[in-house]
Symmetry: C2
Subunit: 410 residues, 2 copies
């Protein structure tokens, strides 16, 4: 499996994934990128995420390819008891390397942890669920309950504004990965497995608490208004340049603020403002927010006289915290961090037939070589291999399963 | 330390955190919630995040409290060599439980991994950084480069729309936690530590790749337009109810779609639409997006005749995937998942003097009791305890440090 690894840290660890969409598959992907053997089983023809947009010109799901890179794929008829038995056998297969299951299948079905542990006592199940109250949910039906859509978007927006980046899915997938690693650590100490359930809704509401939103509202008794692109409680907003481009400027520290004021040549103007308002913008982060109307006007006027190139020249090699707004295509064309110049990425040919920039693990292990990120498998590409390797089935037994339509190969 | 734990899985693991803002402190918080001893050191008077908004009525940062719950806090004068030596001694202290460092300090300063390993060879350093090219960056100055602000927001929005939920910070913090756990696992096998760097920008661009955005744009040569609150490639959008409330409806599977059409009594209307358009909405997820204008009109009209209570009655105990839009205050008042009815939360009195709903780890370990989530410490609350426990300093030595103003207690 070495050609499928990005880092080699988790070699010898096998994870079986029975899942779809983003959260649980992202958990599996994280393990692939750190060197584990991740086997994803799917119904023959693919799970509910197999055709998820965006699609390649040939109709393959780029979404599926992106989230399933480097996994071994086995396709099983999960509608029949014999197929379900194969999935259960795979999850609970003997051997020290296995015993790890990541899923978003229902907790009360044939993949219930209680049933699985009857077959393998030390199994770890990490189960991504929707709502903590048992209802189904996806990122968007959780996000609407958190209040964020009424905090996001232009100040004059009439209704809620959904995020497009599936933040709760991603956060849940990584929380699932943390959960599995912690359960594995504990099993090494005690020999015992466990089930950890990670509901999307608990991930979202917990983060609302961690970031102070719950305390703020519970204490004050009222909601924070929308602030558009202004960053709450500090200095930050987007500004238009003389050549019609857009820059995000942020100053969360004294150093960033001082550097910004210097780089824009606004020292005197800001000092005058501070005197008039009785404010200390360098020393008091909150004051940079309280007086944002005046500060935004000052900086708007100055940034509007400079081109993006002129701004970049002023900001380079200073402590100014800034970034240019780009579309995805703009980033792909102009941002070296989204290119093969960044070791995170390699150009990889995928099952869709398309070759595109493909990321590995976003952390860099400084003492290890990065290998090229793997392609996603065609569905069922490893069906026979996994049946032989993990379930120790003979060629004849595998042939019988194919004849019965119980499994399928790519 | 048992009263500070939410789960007990990582007891015996000590993590030293030298960090501020969200990402690295969230990594530390995750370890606290799983039972580790997390010691956060700060400059005397607090780091750059110590006064971050939102603030309590008494001026304490709810943001800081939320992200530092259950950590032990030591305050050190990091501007002087002797203070820096204390921080280094803490990070590299002997003992099997330690040797884990989470930070966002610069890689080339006094907390450089190469310097630290000279003192403790098996040290693991997980370093959250800004931009992979070495520039500083925060969530907002990374997000602007990803293209998401041009995909987010109302279709007629003039400029970019920033997310308010700091998605990249949170994702980076959890990626840091995964990195530390994997490095710890490897150290148990080989005895060797390592440094893993997690740049915010790599986390963001990698996710853009994982979710298919990069492939889509690289292959098509053009950017996806903004779709407002419509979910790309499937059925999903917000709708207004007869009583002026807002509901998010999503159907990413055949089952969810069929349930939605049934619950709204739209079977005949949808069948007629399918016939007219030559579409199969149940079988083809993409068709539900392609023909969204017609579908949204149909569902808009129906949802607009029903109150939220009537909708809830129709949707309860079905496979419909839905959620009501709420503000944070609305969620706090009306959503049982954000209340003490949910074992994730407990009402905790914090250093600010305020008592509010406080979350634990968002994953539920099914075989373990949850303990109440801990409060955040006052800054420097554990200065003397940590100097004695970890650095084995005598009371006299600790007194000398206080006299020199090298450390401070709460």
């Amino acid at each position: 499996m070495t050609e499928l690894e990005v880092y080699n840290l988790l070699s010898g660890m096998r994870i079986v994934e029975g899942a779809s969409f983003i959260a649980a598959p992202l958990c599996g992907l994280t393990f692939v990128q750190l060197g584990a053997d991740v086997i994803r089983f799917d119904p023959i023809g693919g799970g509910p995420d197999f055709g998820r947009w965006p699609l390649s010109p040939s109709g393959t799901s780029f979404y599926w390819e992106g989230l399933n890179k480097g996994k071994r794929s086995i396709a099983i008829d999960l509608a029949r008891p014999e197929g379900r038995e194969l999935a259960v056998a795979l999850i609970t297969a003997a051997g020290e390397s296995g015993g790890n299951f990541v899923t978003n299948y229902p907790a009360d079905g044939f993949l219930a942890h209680e049933r699985l542990v009857a077959r393998r006592a030390d199994l770890i199940t990490v189960r991504v669920t929707g709502s903590s109250d048992g209802r189904n949910a996806v990122d968007y039906t959780v996000n609407c309950a958190t209040g964020y859509p009424y905090l996001t978007g232009p100040q004059d927006a009439a209704g809620p504004v959904n995020h497009v980046m599936p933040a709760w899915d991603v956060t849940t997938g990584l929380t699932a990965a943390v959960s599995l690693l912690v359960a594995d650590r504990e099993r090494r100490r005690t020999g015992k497995g466990c089930e950890i359930r990670v509901p999307l809704s608990d991930v979202a509401f917990a983060m609302l608490g961690n970031l102070g939103h719950v305390a703020e509202v519970q204490t004050s008794g009222h909601d924070r208004p929308r602030y558009g692109n202004a960053v709450f409680g500090t200095f930050g907003r987007d500004f238009s340049t003389a050549d019609g481009r857009r820059v995000m400027l942020v100053a969360v520290t004294r150093r960033q603020w001082t550097a910004l004021v210097d780089a824009l040549g606004l020292k005197k103007d800001v000092a005058r403002l501070e005197q008039n308002l009785g404010a200390d913008f360098a020393g008091d982060e909150g004051a940079r927010f309280t007086h944002r109307t005046a500060l935004f006007a000052l900086i708007d006027a100055r940034v509007g006289t400079l081109t993006m190139a002129e701004l970049a020249k002023r900001f380079d090699n200073t402590a100014v915290c800034w970034g240019e707004y780009r579309t995805v295509l703009g980033a792909l064309r102009n941002d070296a961090r989204l290119s093969e110049a960044n070791p995170l990425f390699a150009s990889v040919r995928h099952a869709s037939g398309d070759t595109y920039l493909t990321p590995g693990f976003p952390g860099s292990v400084m003492s290890e070589e990065r290998r090229a990120p793997p392609a996603a498998p065609p569905l069922g590409a490893h069906t026979d291999e996994v049946l032989a390797d993990v379930l120790k089935l003979s060629a004849a037994e595998i042939g019988t399963l194919h004849d019965a339509g119980m499994v399928a190969s790519a």
